[in-house]
């Protein structure tokens, strides 16, 4: 057997790593502390020292709010002026800044860090967990992303792997992975249609799949890349903060430490309310009022209350589900089962909504936090081995097309086309002796191209002279099995060609990746200098005077 390929679910709130053994058994790998999932939280301790990842990072989040980042999956591959990023920025205790190319990055102390770099710390942690559990080095992984992730977000995820020293052999869609984990051991000759409803921490995916003869075919996929459990949390935090402001005139929004505590309490309350009808939130000394008196939060919270607050979030799952069913040309009655994936599907109102939309009780068999990583590991077994027993057919999540005129969008590859896919289009020059053609590619569902995501531009210059319409240029667009695009344009009479693998308008350059890796090495060296010799992480002996305690903010 070759060196193993890990299956990694790099989640918005939690991440998980699994592996398949020679006999085809998939195992979730637990950390030495026994945790089967790792919080996707990364912190840079204010006092310096090693970067913290996972539970240790989360534990110190309250005291080090500005340097503790979480939920950055929602920033991955996005511009800072994106609506979703703006929304996240409103309640995030860390600072979101614009990188030189407009991408959303996070400012930690004096350093701007890309979401890729932050994700790479989580990946490194998972890799370490796997190596400890397996007792052998691991360099390859299959990493999952929401099906609704676009080109840039996928590339960014791949870059995060590179920074973490992992060869990402495949980017796999989360719902597809979930279906694989669920269905891989239930091979049947009969064709079965299943729906995968995946509501995670930060993204919502709905996929309709058919399983037959070992082929997992995605018929259609849809969703909302900016809808997840964190929106529920955020809404709760907002409502609570408003309520506190109305009562006490204390503005928690200005107090990152208090906000951090409130967020954590809200998340805990939400989890409690998934099984209980009511719960208590108790946060002593949350803040001080104008008179310097401490404010203690003590409040009973009911499930009905929270459901009422978050009705708008819940309503957002409806339209994608219906559209995806229509795209797959199936009715809810055709579906044999609807699988629930993602922690947020534990919320009773979500389950009720799924039941309402699909007309059947959803399946809750698998652990929704682990099933995606397990599916990725199962797929590692398929791509890494000789076994011809199964294959996965995925689709393009978005329409891909070109800009026509000022605002028009002409679709070349319709969404839900089976991958890999290829499209060709011929263009003719529009004026005599035109010197060049420039073709802009976009991804999205809007007829108005400006509302879609710009992927990049191919320019072919040095066209031969000729009357308008006489010179023809062929555009060739391919999307591979991982949804990575490749574009070439060719002038037909001379054969002159221009091409790009699309990633020019965002993401990291190769140089930036190298810089991040070398910076990380430096930081590790610096951290090692402050690290006690023994202790093995169990005891921490301060090697220098602790700074005086003072209220910390931005």
């Amino acid at each position: 057997m070759a060196s193993r390929i890990l299956g990694i679910d790099l989640g918005t709130t939690n991440s998980c790593v699994a592996v398949i053994d020679d006999r085809g058994t998939v195992t979730v790998l637990a950390s030495p502390e026994g945790e089967r999932t790792t919080p996707s939280v990364v912190a840079w301790p204010a006092a310096g020292g090693d970067v913290l990842v996972g539970t240790p990072a989360r534990r110190q989040a309250v005291s080090n709010a500005a340097h503790t980042v979480f939920g950055t999956k929602r920033l991955v591959g996005r511009k800072v002026n994106n609506d979703d990023v703006a929304l996240a920025a409103r309640t995030a205790p860390y600072r979101i800044v614009a990188a030189a190319n407009g991408d959303a990055w996070v400012r930690i102390g004096t350093v701007n860090r890309s979401p890729q770099e932050i994700a790479s710390h989580v990946l490194r942690r998972l890799r370490a967990i796997a190596e400890a559990a397996l007792g052998e080095p691991v360099t390859r992984a299959i990493v999952t992303v929401p099906a609704y992730f676009d080109e840039h977000q996928r590339q960014a995820t791949r870059d995060a792997g590179t920074i973490a020293g992992l060869d990402v052999v495949r980017i796999l869609n989360e719902p597809t992975a979930a279906a694989l984990a669920y269905g891989a051991h239930r091979v049947s000759e009969r064709r079965r249609l299943i729906g995968v409803f995946d509501l995670g921490g930060g993204t919502f995916d709905i996929s309709i799949m058919s399983v037959e003869n070992g082929i997992f075919e995605v018929l259609a996929t849809g969703g909302d890349s900016a809808l997840g459990g964190e929106d529920w949390d955020r809404r709760m935090v907002e409502r609570m903060a408003d309520e506190i402001f109305d009562k006490t005139l204390i503005d928690l929004m200005q107090n990152p430490v208090a906000l951090g505590r409130l967020r954590e309490a809200c998340e805990a309350a939400k989890k409690a309310l998934s099984s209980e009808r009511e719960t208590w939130m108790r946060l002593p000394f949350l803040a001080q009022d104008q008179d310097g008196q401490p404010f203690n939060l003590e409040r009973k919270l009911t499930r009905d209350e929270v459901e009422a607050w978050t009705a708008a979030e819940l309503a957002r799952v409806d339209a994608p589900c219906r559209r995806t069913l229509a795209d797959a040309r199936v009715t809810p009655a055709d579906l044999e089962e609807v699988l629930l994936v993602g922690g947020m599907t534990r919320w009773p109102a979500v389950q009720a909504t799924v039941e309402r939309i699909f007309g059947k009780k959803p399946s809750k068999g698998a652990n929704p936090d682990e099933v995606v990583a397990m599916g990725a590991a199962a797929y590692a077994g398929i791509v890494g081995g000789d076994d011809d027993g199964a294959a996965l057919l995925d689709v393009t999540p978005h329409d891909i097309g070109i800009k026509v005129g000022e605002t028009g969008f002409s679709v070349l590859i319709a969404r839900n086309s089976m991958l890999p896919v290829r499209a060709r289009k011929l263009f003719a020059t529009t004026s005599a002796d035109q010197k060049f053609v420039s073709i802009e590619l976009y991804q999205g569902e809007h007829a108005d191209v400006r509302k879609n995501r710009r992927l990049g531009q191919v320019t072919l210059d040095g066209l031969p002279p000729g009357p308008a319409g006489s010179i023809r240029v062929e555009l060739n667009l391919t999307v591979d099995v991982e949804s990575i695009m490749n574009v070439t344009a060719r002038e037909l009479s001379t054969g002159k060609e221009a091409g790009v693998t699309l990633r020019p308008s965002g993401g990291l350059t190769q140089r930036e990746i190298v810089e991040i890796i070398s910076r990380r090495r430096e930081e590790e060296t610096a951290a090692a200098a402050t690290r006690p010799i023994d202790g093995g992480g169990l005891t921490r002996v301060p090697t220098r005077e602790l700074p005086p305690i003072k209220p910390r903010g931005e």
Partner: protein, 410 residues
């Protein structure tokens, strides 16, 4: 077929400079022939149109199907006139000085073990397993196999691409698609180092997927059936009577004089000392006037179908179906002699030859014949299908080999 490369071009005056001839024996069949007819009499015959002077020393590097090479030395002993030496002429007969004992042993054991493997005189030129072979080389071979398979698949209609009958229903088509997907989906090539393999697999998979899409539902299937219906639909008949197709342009080496294809070609382009080699697809169609029996050493006595002028080559279809290739061949030949311009019948000759070679497991020969058919008649369904099937097998073998090598390495 033997192919010769690198014959030095010599003026007659420097006749004492030795001729260096490279012979590549790609099938056991050919090796068996050389052994039986030539080596056993300590000589070797080479077809040639321009004859080097008697006494010219000759060095022959003979490469066996196993890639081992045997060096033979001799002198030009005889100019064989046209039709001489049992109809093999014109050419030169080379008296070999000595055949090293080791060389004969090598050839004989190779032939014997090849015969034992398959029970007949077999050909296993595909995917020669060599433990020392490098994984990278095996990847290259797989790449080449996939490339020719892709080329083959492009000529097929959707039914043939999926390998289903024209009457296939939904379930059968989906099952065929599933089987092919499991083998050709680009993800199945992720484990190999070569990125190109994945790209090539993607190309093949796109063809398979497109075929599936066109047959996936009843309505589009009816359309595809109609499109394929230009060809005979029932029972895989092979040959289309009807308007003969204009000859495809013959390029480069193909423009060589339509001499009877030499059995043991030797020589090189200008000025040819020896006749030009028969390349895989650059074969001039067999001439009706001189049916070259030398090329078909395994042929059993031609069936005597008489010289009935009314013989209709379409009856050969049934013979082909029945596996009676020699009889079919004779029918095609007779018909071609009467109608030398009929390309369909000429394609029939190649097809019958190809099927016969296939039956004898001479896959290389068969592939060349099928390609010749497609060159003469690009719409020939049977040849296209057989070729695609052979190439699929070749891909499979290469892949199996690569997996074995990788398994060994790890």
């Amino acid at each position: 077929m033997l192919a010769i490369a690198g014959v030095p071009i010599l003026a007659a005056s420097v006749s004492q400079t030795p001729l260096n001839i490279k012979l590549r024996c790609t099938s056991w069949q050919q090796l068996a022939n050389i052994h039986r007819r030539d080596l056993s009499r300590h000589a070797i015959f080479l077809k040639a149109s321009q004859l080097p002077p008697l006494g010219t020393p000759v060095r022959i590097d003979l490469t066996l199907p196993t890639e081992s090479m045997i060096v033979l030395a001799g002198v030009v002993a005889e100019h064989v006139p046209e039709g001489g030496l049992g109809g093999r002429g014109p050419g030169i007969d080379i008296k070999l000085n000595t055949i090293p004992e080791s060389a004969l042993w090598l050839i004989e054991t190779a032939l014997a073990s090849a015969a034992k493997q398959t029970g007949a005189i077999p050909v296993t030129n595909e995917a020669a397993v060599d433990d020392g072979q490098d994984v990278a080389a095996a990847e290259d071979e797989l790449l080449a196999a996939l490339t020719s398979e892709l080329d083959s698949l492009r000529r097929l209609n959707p039914f043939q691409v999926l390998g289903v009958g024209y009457e296939a229903g939904d379930a059968e088509i989906r099952a065929a698609f599933a089987g092919l997907t499991k083998r050709y989906h680009p993800d199945r090539f992720t484990r190999y180092t070569s990125q190109e393999l994945r790209g090539l697999a993607a190309e093949i998979f796109i063809l398979i997927r497109d075929a599936y899409r066109r047959l996936g539902d009843e309505a589009s299937r009816a359309k595809a059936l109609q499109a394929a219906g230009a060809r005979p639909v029932v029972k895989v008949p092979t040959l289309r009577p009807g308007p003969s197709i204009p000859p495809p342009p013959i390029a480069g080496a193909k423009a060589a004089p339509p001499a009877p294809p030499p059995r043991m070609p030797a020589g090189s382009p200008p000025p040819p000392v020896i006749a030009p080699p028969r390349a895989a697809t650059a074969d001039p169609p067999p001439s009706a006037k001189a049916p070259d029996t030398e090329r078909r050493p395994m042929q059993v006595a031609p069936p005597s179908l008489g010289e009935d002028p009314k013989v209709d080559f379409r009856s050969a279809d049934g013979l082909l179906e029945a596996g009676r290739y020699d009889e079919a061949l004779a029918v095609f030949k007779i018909y071609t002699r009467k109608n030398p311009g009929d390309r369909t019948a000429r394609a029939g000759i190649e097809l019958a030859e190809g099927l016969r070679a296939l039956a004898q497991r001479d896959r290389l020969e068969a592939a060349q014949r099928f390609e010749a058919v497609l060159e003469i008649d690009p719409t020939n369904e049977r040849a296209a299908r057989e070729l695609a099937e052979m190439r699929r097998m070749a891909t499979n073998e290469r892949r199996g080999l690569l997996s074995r090598l990788m398994g060994k390495k790890e």
